[in-house]
Symmetry: C2
Subunit: 175 residues, 2 copies
DNA sequence: CATAAAAGTGAGTAATCACTCACAAATGTA
DNA sequence: TACATTTGTGAGTGATTACTCACTTTTATG
């Protein structure tokens, strides 16, 4: 990934997240990135190719996060890490996640598998901890975390973060 | 609202929810609705005017729901009704809600006030029930319900609905 | 240095977009 | 019936879109 390609990816990511993919013309991406419009197509082939490159670029980081959690051996540690997830998103990653969440509603993202993996991971953890309905608990936990992430991504200066996190850790007896 | 206007609104709503507003050309709306493209502009002025009409049309039904809940006097009944909310959405309303949730990410919806109202309503209910941190509980409840709605709207034949609902009613001691 | 490959440009293109408008048909209203 | 208003049409318009291509500049390699 060259310097110029990253310039384009960052500009596109920002605009895609702000206005949506369809409402963002490639001319505007080029202008924001400070390159000619033709260069976008030389490097990424098409607008859709650029979108895919963005998703892959971000997907790698997501996979790394997952691997780290899956490495934990204690079920309590796994749950703690999973709960921490939406609270530990760096602000520099907000645009990426905003894009992911937007695409979810047009059914063209390729990150459902991560949700699936998180689901089975926490389901197993709940089971190990002796929960009666581990799958239901896992389902509910991920729903909550999805909601928290949504709230954090859409609310500027979301200051209830810490309280919400502590309340969740308390609910699952992880504090 | 005439017959023809409703035809247009329904066609547009379906396409907006499926593909997104920006990816839906007015020509396709006209074709789906079985009317000429010009008629859309005669009735709604612009594509954005059509979108606003759709949101108003749906907003009335949402307001009615809210009024019904606000009418309850017992805090437990209020919470029960609020929890019921995402589970009682009729499938014929799915497109509307998919559109609302999509627009949320482009920050051009006008339904945040409803969330605000729900927040203060359940906050008051939690307070009446003697919860230690009623605002935090309200915040978390709405986050969960938002997540449930998201899951239900995006998952075809979402069969964990009843279990999730019962688990929530149990958690808040409403069963 | 020479030369080939890669990176970068910007004017151009066909297609598509939201929207207009002159007109026709349908629906009042007396 | 006569006439005005509303409803509906579809061809047309200028603007914008994603994308191409002939060309220039930069970089890599011997």
């Amino acid at each position: 990934m060259t310097e110029r390609q990253l310039q384009i990816i960052h500009a596109a990511l920002q605009l895609f997240a702000e206005d949506g993919v369809d409402a963002t013309p490639t001319s505007k991406i080029a202008k924001t990135a400070g390159v000619s419009e033709g260069l976008i197509f030389r490097h990424f082939g098409s607008k859709d190719g650029l979108l895919k490159a963005i998703l892959e670029y971000g997907g790698e980081r997501v996979a790394a996060f997952y691997a780290k959690i899956a490495n934990e051996s204690q079920p309590k540690d796994i749950l703690r890490q999973i709960i921490e997830l939406p609270f530990s998103i760096d602000e520099s990653e907000y645009d990426f996640w905003r894009l992911i969440y937007t695409l979810k509603w047009q059914r063209r993202t390729h990150l459902e598998n991560i949700t699936e993996q998180m689901l089975s991971l926490s389901s197993k953890a709940f089971n190990d901890l002796g929960y009666e309905a581990p799958e239901l608990e896992a389902e509910l936990l991920l729903i909550v975390l999805d909601g928290v992430a949504t709230r954090a991504l859409l609310t500027e200066s979301y200051d209830m973060k810490t309280q919400v996190k502590n309340r969740l850790l308390k609910q699952y007896k992880l504090d």
